[in-house]
Amino acid sequence: MKLASYVRDKRVIVVCGAGGVGKTTTSASLALAGTRCGRRALVLTIDPARRLAQALGIPPTGDEPVQIEPVRLQRAGVDVESGGTLHAWMLDPRVVLEGVVDRFAPKPEDAERIRKTRLYQALCDVMTGLQEYTAAEALYSFHESDAYDLIVLDTPPSRNALDFLDAPRRLARFLDERTLSIFAPHTQRSSAMVRAASKVVQTALSRTFGSAFAHDLQQFMGLFGKLFQKMRVHASGVRELLRSNESAFLVVTSPDPAALDEATYFQHRIEELGLRSEGFVLNRSYARPGHGDTPQGRLRQVQDEPLHRALQKLVPLADLESERVESHRRILARLETQSRSEGGRGATALPFLDEAVESVEALDALSSAVLAPESGPVEPARPASRSQPDEAGRTESDSSGA
């Protein structure tokens, strides 16, 4: 799978995966790779990776995207084609939701009334579900505004991350007419059954939540219900955009078994939603070739006493590393097959940078890997300790594709 073609050609890249696999970093490096190709790139993120944000000069929350100052990129030696810019925005659900209410409320007074209900205020505080939805909202409005050539959306690390794609249905679950009807006053036309059921529910709600809440809820549902009709139309616009060829979904994972399970979950979830998962990005792995000499080989060339001892102690670590390289390459090969068997484009591994990606330089190094032409299929590594080094102290494996 060639990441370079996505950052050059797509309008939208959605990045999903478990927490702690480097999703935010990957998203930022994809956007920066787009910038380097001369595109106006925007990365929308939910995860406040504060140190990286600081390095890029992005405030923790804001009302709108912030441009990364070109001088910061220059200083870090980033090679940007003319016209390339990088914007970033750490999504604040509150800000986005305000915008939604303003845009869709039937009348300005309605917007004001919605904002005043205690429920709305709580809705802003309790992020579950809302983050995903606001991400979709932001994505759509930026796409509409045509201010960017490439938008990279970093999704939250929860299994619900893609629920925004289900927004019409999900919101429907919350706000559909039958649910609303149990709060609404009853008319003569309601059947005895419905009236009875709704009475039970209302008794339950007011007894458990107190009557003030029940009243709030009724008011909120009434107002939000109207809004919802319009949001439904909007949500289908988001869906259409994400279904089109302009968009690509990438699943990021690490070699950790729990992260791999999540990756499979996301792959299937994307398909369930009627979209196509382009492939996997394997992060934090040793799958990329890059190791050469064995410590045993080096030992012969070294006289320095402490270094000699250090190299001896490195031998078991080299064995461990070889085992990991092998196992990670098997994982990469498996992801490749897994993606292709479901109509995807395969899998690719990004290099494991030594330091955490918390500087522009490190991000740039990662974006170089994104843009680098793929080195072809990786050959299996050979465990170093079990093979005899040749006279030069080298093993002949592992130079492939480096």
Partner: protein, 301 residues
Amino acid sequence: MWRRKLVLVTGKGGVGKTTLAAALARRAQAAGARVLAAEVSTDVATASPLMRMLGHPEARSTDPVRLESGLSGVRLVPSAGHRRFLQASLRVKMLVDAAMRSSALNRFLMAAPAFPEVGTLFQLVSLLRENDFDHVIVDLPATGHAIGLAALPQTVLRVVPSGLIGDAIREGLELMTDPDRGHALLVTLPEAMPVSETMELCQTLDGLGIRVQSMVLNRIPTDPFSSEERRALRAHLVEAPDRPLLGAREFSRLERARTAMDRFREEAPSAVSRVFLPDWTADSEPELVAKVEGRLQEIEA
């Protein structure tokens, strides 16, 4: 670490949070206390990692099940909490069944923001009311914002100040924020980003009035190098960057772990105790739990 009525164990996925929760439950059990190991999950259908770690993979109930002498297990699931508060408010089982069958109400409770968490918290509080456990060790969910459950009470109280739920949530909040009765333990790994995130989480919890008792740095790799050897190897690697050396990546991992440990020592608030756990291997999960438990015992002594 476990000597509170309510012990919340939190951290990102894959950091060994569940292992620590299980080991704490074992410690408390060994000390002769009545312990409830509770796992927060979204539904009962999936397997329970915490019960598996405790060697009882079959236990999946949302009511406390006695696993061994002094040790019980339970799963905290939103729907179980919803049922409980309906039971408490309606008092007639038939009505509860009718209400729970009402798909409209069910959908509302699961899809409305925060209601799943309210269900979980309600279940926890009612378990504490109804049973006589000395300690409840809660393994919090790994997904995203660990503060979800912790931040919830204040938000919900603003919206639902009265009624059964309001009362239960207030009770839960009091328990969580009373340092004599409840505290939190944060688990993380010796790498830069996880440590940064844990420091942030610690601040957030502090802001919510929840005391962080310990921060646990888990899976610290064994470092065989003396500082002299380390310097020599570092210099050697810098000298010839174009001639890669097998094992160098593992060496950098050790270096990163060292840096993370230093930061952990320096930056963690002084009131929070720091716990370091090695990167153990074990043949089975209960065996790993036993190793961690042994280490916790040493720390206590």
